[in-house]
C-alpha cells in the first residue's frame, strides 16, 4: 500500500483553460472580500451586482470551453471537464445568478449581514462547480464540504429568529452526520479498491469481487445514503422542510435548487463512473428510495398550509422522480445513457421552474409578509402578472404540457420504459400516479390565487423591484421555451455522457 508514495513527484500538467471558470470565480470572491473589508459603507451596495456579474463572468470561459469542444482530463482522471461538467457548471452559475437576483432586495431590506451573504453564496457555487468536475472520492468530498458549509451558515442567516436558528442547526447536524456516513462508506471502498479515482474504482468493481463483496456493498450503500441526505430522499428528508421554512426565502431557493442538484451530480458521477458494475446493489436501493421519496413527499405536501414548506415537500417528491432512472440505470449501457440524459434534463428544468416559484413567493411576501398559501388568495385580482407566472411554475412542476416540466417528466418516463423491465414499468406507473397526487396541492395554490377573494379586500398592487422582474422574466421565459421547444434543452443534454469513462 505504501508503495505508491515512493514514486517520484511529477509536476502535473495544468490546463488553465479548463480551470478558468473556477479561477474567475475565486478572483471575484477575493475582490468581494476586499471590497467588503475596505470599501466605504455606501459602496457596499454594489456587492450584489458584483456577485451577479462575477457569476456571469465565470460563465464566459464555460462557453469558450464548450466551443473548444474536447474533453479535458486533469490529474490523471481525478478532475474532468467534459460536456457533462460544462452543462452543469452553467446550470450552477445561472442558478447562482438568479439567487443573487432574488436576494438583492430581500437581504438589503431585512436585518441581514449583506457582504458575507454574497461571499458565502459564491463559495457554495464554487463548491458545486468543483463537484461537476470531480471524478475522485476526495474531490467529491471536498466539493461537498465547500458547497455545504456556506449553506449551513446561510440557512441560519435570520440571526435573531428562532426558526432561523432551528433551520441552521438542523441542516448542519444532519449534513455533518451524512458526511460522516458517506466518508465511512468511501473509506471502505478505498480500502477494498486501493484507489480514490472513480474510473479505477469502476474498473475494480467490474471484476469478480470474491470476499470483498459484502464490504463493497456496505461501502456503496453508505456513500449513496450520504448523498440521500443531500438530495433529501425519504427517509433522510426530515431536515428539509424545517430548514426551508426557517431560512431566508432566497436561501431556501438556493438550497432547493442548486444544492439539491449538486447532490444529484455527485450521485450521477458515483453511480455511473464508479459503482456502475454493481447494479445489483444500487438499483434496488434507488428503486426503494425513489418510490418512497416521491410517494411520501407528495402525501405530506398535500397537508401543507405554508407555501415554502409545500415547495419543500414538492421538492422532495421531485427528487423521487429524479432518483427513479437510477433504479433501472444498470440494465444496459444504452439504458444507462438514457438515464443520465433524463436526470440531467430533469435537473435543468427543475432548477428553473423551482427558482421561478420562489421568485413569486418572494415578490408576494413583499406585500403580504407571509408565505401561507391563504395569503395568496385573490392574487389574480391585484397582481395578474404574478398569478400567471406562478400558475406557469405550478403547472410546470405538475408536469402539464406545454410547460417545461412535462418534458422533464417525459424523459423520466422514457428512461424507465427504455429498460423494458417490470420494475421499470411499475416505477413509471408509480411516477404517473404520483403526478396526479401532486397536482392536487399545486392546484390548491392555483385555487387560492384565481378563485378566492383577497383577504380583507386588500387589492393594493405589488411593486416588484427590477432584480426580481429580471429573475421572473428569465424563469418564465425558459420554462415556456423548454415546454414548447424541448429540443433546445435536449440539444445541450444530448451529448452528456459519463459512461464512456466508466467502461
Amino acid at each position: 500500500m505504501l508503495a505508491q508514495f515512493d514514486s517520484t513527484w511529477v509536476q502535473p500538467t495544468f490546463d488553465y483553460h479548463a480551470f478558468a471558470p473556477e479561477i474567475v470565480l475565486v478572483c471575484v470572491l477575493v475582490v468581494m472580500i476586499l471590497v467588503d473589508l475596505f470599501a466605504p459603507r455606501e459602496a457596499k451596495g454594489a456587492l450584489p451586482s458584483l456577485a451577479g456579474l462575477g457569476l456571469l463572468a465565470a460563465a464566459i470561459p464555460v462557453i469558450t470551453l464548450a466551443v473548444s469542444g474536447h474533453t479535458r482530463v486533469l490529474f490523471g482522471g481525478a478532475y474532468v471537464v467534459d460536456q457533462f461538467t460544462l452543462v452543469l457548471t452553467a446550470v450552477f452559475l445561472v442558478t447562482g445568478y438568479v439567487v443573487v437576483l432574488l436576494s438583492t432586495n430581500t437581504i438589503a431590506e431585512g436585518d441581514y449581514w449583506e457582504g458575507e451573504y454574497y461571499i458565502l453564496i459564491l463559495s457554495s457555487v464554487l463548491g458545486m462547480m468543483i463537484m461537476a468536475s470531480a471524478r475522485d472520492l476526495i474531490g467529491i468530498f471536498i466539493a461537498l464540504e465547500l458547497l455545504s458549509i456556506p449553506a449551513y451558515m446561510l440557512a441560519a442567516w435570520k440571526k435573531r429568529d428562532l426558526k432561523g436558528n432551528e433551520a441552521g442547526i438542523k441542516y448542519y447536524l444532519m449534513g455533518v452526520f451524512a458526511s460522516a456516513v458517506m466518508l465511512y462508506g468511501m473509506s471502505l471502498i478505498y480500502g477494498f479498491t486501493g484507489t480514490t479515482k472513480l474510473v479505477e474504482i469502476g474498473a475494480k468493481l467490474g471484476q469478480p469481487l470474491g470476499d470483498g463483496r459484502q464490504l463493497v456493498t456496505l461501502g456503496i450503500v453508505f456513500v449513496l445514503i450520504g448523498f440521500g441526505f443531500k438530495v433529501s430522499a425519504v427517509p433522510f428528508h426530515s431536515w428539509a422542510p424545517d430548514t426551508y421554512e426557517g431560512a431566508p426565502t432566497p436561501v431556501t431557493a438556493f438550497l432547493a435548487t442548486a444544492s439539491k442538484a449538486a447532490g444529484f451530480v455527485a450521485l450521477l458521477e458515483l453511480i455511473f463512473v464508479a459503482f456502475y458494475p454493481r447494479a445489483d446493489v444500487y438499483e434496488p436501493l434507488m428503486w426503494a428510495l425513489a418510490a418512497a421519496t416521491m410517494t411520501i413527499g407528495n402525501l405530506i405536501a398535500l397537508r401543507q398550509t405554508n407555501l415554502v414548506r409545500m415547495l419543500a415537500y414538492s421538492g422532495i417528491a421531485q427528487a423521487g422522480y429524479i432518483l427513479a432512472p437510477f433504479a433501472v440505470a444498470g440494465t444496459s449501457a444504452s439504458v444507462g445513457q438514457t438515464a443520465i440524459k433524463a436526470i440531467v434534463t430533469y435537473l435543468v428544468i427543475y432548477v428553473v421552474m423551482n427558482l421561478g416559484a420562489f421568485a413569486v413567493v418572494i415578490a408576494v411576501a413583499r406585500k403580504t409578509r407571509s408565505a401561507e398559501i391563504t395569503s395568496f388568495a385573490g392574487l389574480f385580482q391585484y397582481a395578474p402578472g404574478l398569478t400567471v407566472a406562478m400558475s406557469i411554475f405550478m403547472f410546470s412542476l405538475a408536469g402539464i404540457p406545454p410547460l417545461g416540466g412535462w418534458f422533464a417528466k417525459l424523459v423520466i418516463f422514457g428512461s424507465l420504459a427504455s429498460a423494458g423491465t417490470t420494475s421499470g414499468y411499475v416505477l413509471a406507473v408509480l411516477v404517473a400516479v404520483n403526478s396526479v397526487i401532486a397536482f392536487f396541492y399545486y392546484a390548491r395554490v392555483m385555487r387560492y390565487m384565481w378563485m378566492e377573494e383577497a383577504p380583507d379586500g386588500d387589492r393594493t398592487p405589488i411593486r416588484i423591484p427590477a432584480s426580481l422582474q429580471i429573475a421572473l422574466v428569465l424563469t418564465v421565459g425558459v420554462t415556456l421555451i423548454y415546454g414548447v421547444f424541448p429540443g433546445l434543452v435536449a440539444h445541450f443534454t444530448d451529448t452528456v455522457s459519463l459512461l464512456s469513462l466508466g467502461r
Binding site: I400, W406, F413, G414, A417, Y425, R447, M451, H491
Partner: protein, 519 residues
C-alpha cells in the same frame, strides 16, 4: 393556394388562436369591447382557414392524410411535428371551428361572473388551439401535448367562472383526466420502446408516428399489448367518459359556465373517442379485439345507467350531463363493435352529440339566465312564456332522443345496428348488448320527453307568471344558435355529408389494421 395550404394550412389553423392571445395580452383589460372583437375575429380567421381547408380537401382521397406536415420537433426522443387531416379528423375539426366562434357570440353580452372578458376569451382561444391540434396531430407526443393543453383553460373556466361548487368540480375534472393521461403517456412510451424501429430520414429509430406505428407495433407481444391498451383505455376512457369513470362529468358540466359546458360537451369529450379510433384501435388491433367485449359491456352499462340517472335528476343541466354519459355509450358501442359501420356511426355520433348536446347546454344556460334556476319542478310553460326557446328546446330533445330526420338518429341507430354483426369472436354477446342499447333508446325517449313535458308544456308557475326577465330568444342568441340548429337538421336529412368523408378513412386507417390482426 393548394401549396400554401399544404405547407401552412394546418399550422395556421392550429396556432392562429395563439396569435389572437398574444394581441389580447397587449391590450389593457379595460378595453372589453376590443377584446371581444379581437377574439371573435381570431376565431373567424380560424374558421376561414377551416373553410379553405375543407374546400381544397380532396374528397376522393378522404382516406389519406392531406396537408400533411412532418418536421423534426424533439430529436432527442424522435417526436416529430407531424400533422395531417383525413376523413376521421375532418368532421371533428370542422365542429370545433364552428362551435368556438358561436360560443364567443353567445357570451358577447352575458359573461358569467366575475366578468373579466379578457381572461375568459384568452382561455377560450387557448382551448381552441388545444382542441384543433389534438384532432390534427399525427404524432403521439404531439397529440399528448395538445390533449393536455386543453385541460388548463377548462380548469380555469370551470373554477373561476363556474357555479357554486366550482372549485370541487374543476379539481375533480382535472384530477380524473390527469390520472388517465398519466397512464396514457406511460403506454405511449411503452409502445415507443417495444415497437420495431422504422426508417426515418435514413436512420433506423423508434417512433411515435401514428401512421407508422400500426405496422411497427405489430410485433409487440400479446400480453404487453393488452397492458398498453389498458393504459390508453384509462386515458381515453376517462375523457369520454366511460362508466365507471364518468363521475367527474355531471359535476363539471353542472358547474361550468354555459360556454364551458357547450365546449366540454361538443368537443372535449370527443377527444377520448377520437383517441380510440385514431390511436388505440389502429395501433393495437389485437388488443382491441380482446378488450372489445369489456368496452362494449361498459358502454351499454353507461347507456342504461346514464338514462336511469337522467330520470332521477331534478336539475335540467345535470340531466343533460347524464344524457351525455348515455350518448357517449352509443359512440363507444359503435367503436367496440370494431366494424367499419360501427366506427363510422361513432364518428357521426360524436358530431351529432356535439351539435345537439351543445345546443341543449346553450338552452339550459339561457334558462338559467332567465329563470335563475334550473330546477325542473319550478320551470314550466316555456312554450307560453318563451315560445321560440320552447320550440328550440323541443327540436333539440327530439334530436337527442334519436328521432329520424335529425342528426341524433344517424349516430345512434347505426351504432346499435353494428353490434349485430360485431367484428369480434363472441358475436352473441354483442347481440345481447344490442338489445340492451335498444332498450336504452326507449329510456332516452322517456327522460327527454318527460323533461320537455315538465319544462315546456302547461302554464308557467305563479312565481314566473309575469316575470319581466322572461324575454324570448334574443338576436345574438339566434345568431349563435342557428348554425347549430341548421347543422342538426341538415345532417339529419343528408347524413352522407359525413359518412362519405369518414368511410374511406375508417377503412384505410382502422379496418386494414383490424383485418390484418385477424378475426
Amino acid at each position: 393556394m393548394k401549396s400554401f395550404l399544404d405547407d401552412w394550412g394546418l399550422t395556421l389553423a392550429t396556432f392562429i388562436p395563439l396569435v389572437g392571445v398574444a394581441i389580447m395580452l397587449l391590450v389593457p383589460k379595460a378595453e372589453e369591447q376590443l377584446h371581444k372583437i379581437i377574439a371573435l375575429l381570431t376565431t373567424f380567421a380560424v374558421a376561414g382557414m377551416g373553410v379553405l381547408l375543407l374546400t381544397n380537401f380532396d374528397y376522393d382521397r378522404a382516406g389519406e392524410l392531406q396537408y400533411s406536415i412532418n418536421r423534426s420537433w424533439i430529436p432527442f426522443i424522435n417526436a416529430r411535428y407531424h400533422m395531417g387531416l383525413d376523413g376521421i379528423s375532418l368532421p371533428l375539426v370542422a365542429l370545433t371551428m364552428l362551435v368556438v366562434p358561436l360560443c364567443i357570440i353567445y357570451s358577447w353580452n352575458h359573461f358569467p361572473e366575475p366578468q373579466n372578458p379578457k381572461a375568459f376569451l384568452i382561455l377560450i382561444l387557448i382551448l381552441e388551439t388545444g382542441m384543433v391540434g389534438s384532432f390534427l396531430a399525427e404524432d403521439l407526443i404531439l397529440f399528448f401535448v395538445f390533449f393536455e393543453v386543453v385541460l388548463l383553460p377548462m380548469y380555469f373556466l370551470i373554477g373561476v367562472w363556474g357555479g357554486e361548487q366550482r372549485q370541487y368540480a374543476s379539481i375533480k375534472f382535472f384530477l380524473y383526466t390527469l390520472f388517465g393521461s398519466a397512464l396514457m403517456i406511460v403506454s405511449f412510451l411503452a409502445l415507443y420502446f417495444l415497437s420495431d424501429k422504422v426508417m426515418i430520414d435514413g436512420v433506423s429509430v423508434h417512433t411515435f408516428d401514428m401512421t407508422l406505428l400500426p405496422a411497427a407495433a405489430s410485433g409487440i407481444s400479446t400480453s404487453a399489448a393488452l397492458l398498453i391498451f389498458g393504459g390508453m383505455f384509462m386515458g381515453f376512457g376517462i375523457k369520454v367518459p366511460i362508466f365507471p369513470f364518468h363521475t367527474w362529468l355531471p359535476d363539471a358540466h353542472t358547474q361550468a359556465p354555459t360556454v364551458g359546458s357547450v365546449i366540454l360537451a361538443a368537443v372535449l369529450l370527443k377527444l377520448g373517442t377520437y383517441g380510440f379510433v385514431r390511436i388505440a384501435l389502429p395501433i393495437l388491433p389485437g388488443a382491441a379485439r380482446s378488450w372489445a367485449p369489456y368496452i362494449g359491456a361498459l358502454a351499454v352499462i353507461g347507456i342504461i345507467y346514464g338514462a336511469l340517472c337522467c330520470l332521477a335528476q331534478t336539475d335540467m343541466k345535470r340531466l343533460i350531463a347524464f344524457s351525455s354519459v348515455a350518448h357517449m355509450g352509443y359512440v363507444m358501442l359503435g367503436i367496440a363493435s370494431l366494424t367499419a359501420f360501427g366506427i363510422n356511426a361513432a364518428i357521426f355520433g360524436m358530431v351529432a352529440h356535439g351539435l345537439i348536446t351543445g345546443m341543449l347546454f346553450f338552452v339550459a344556460g339561457t334558462v338559467k339566465e332567465r329563470y335563475h334556476t334550473l330546477d325542473i319542478k319550478r320551470l314550466g310553460g316555456m312554450l307560453q312564456s318563451m315560445p321560440h326557446l320552447g320550440w328550440i328546446l323541443g327540436l333539440c330533445t327530439m334530436a337527442s332522443l334519436g328521432l329520424p330526420g335529425l342528426a341524433g338518429f344517424w349516430g345512434e341507430f347505426p351504432a346499435i345496428l353494428s353490434a349485430w354483426e360485431a367484428n369480434v369472436a363472441n358475436v352473441g354477446l354483442f347481440r345481447f348488448y344490442m338489445v340492451i342499447a335498444a332498450i336504452g333508446t326507449v329510456l332516452a325517449a322517456g327522460y327527454l320527453l318527460w323533461l320537455y313535458q315538465r319544462t315546456a308544456f302547461g302554464t308557467p308557475s305563479d312565481e314566473f307568471a309575469d316575470d319581466p326577465h322572461l324575454h324570448d330568444v334574443s338576436v345574438l342568441e339566434w345568431v349563435a344558435w342557428l348554425p347549430m340548429l341548421a347543422g342538426i337538421v341538415i345532417l339529419g336529412f343528408v347524413p352522407n355529408i359525413i359518412f362519405h368523408v369518414t368511410d374511406p378513412a375508417v377503412i384505410r386507417t382502422v379496418m386494414t389494421s383490424l383485418n390484418r390482426a385477424g378475426g
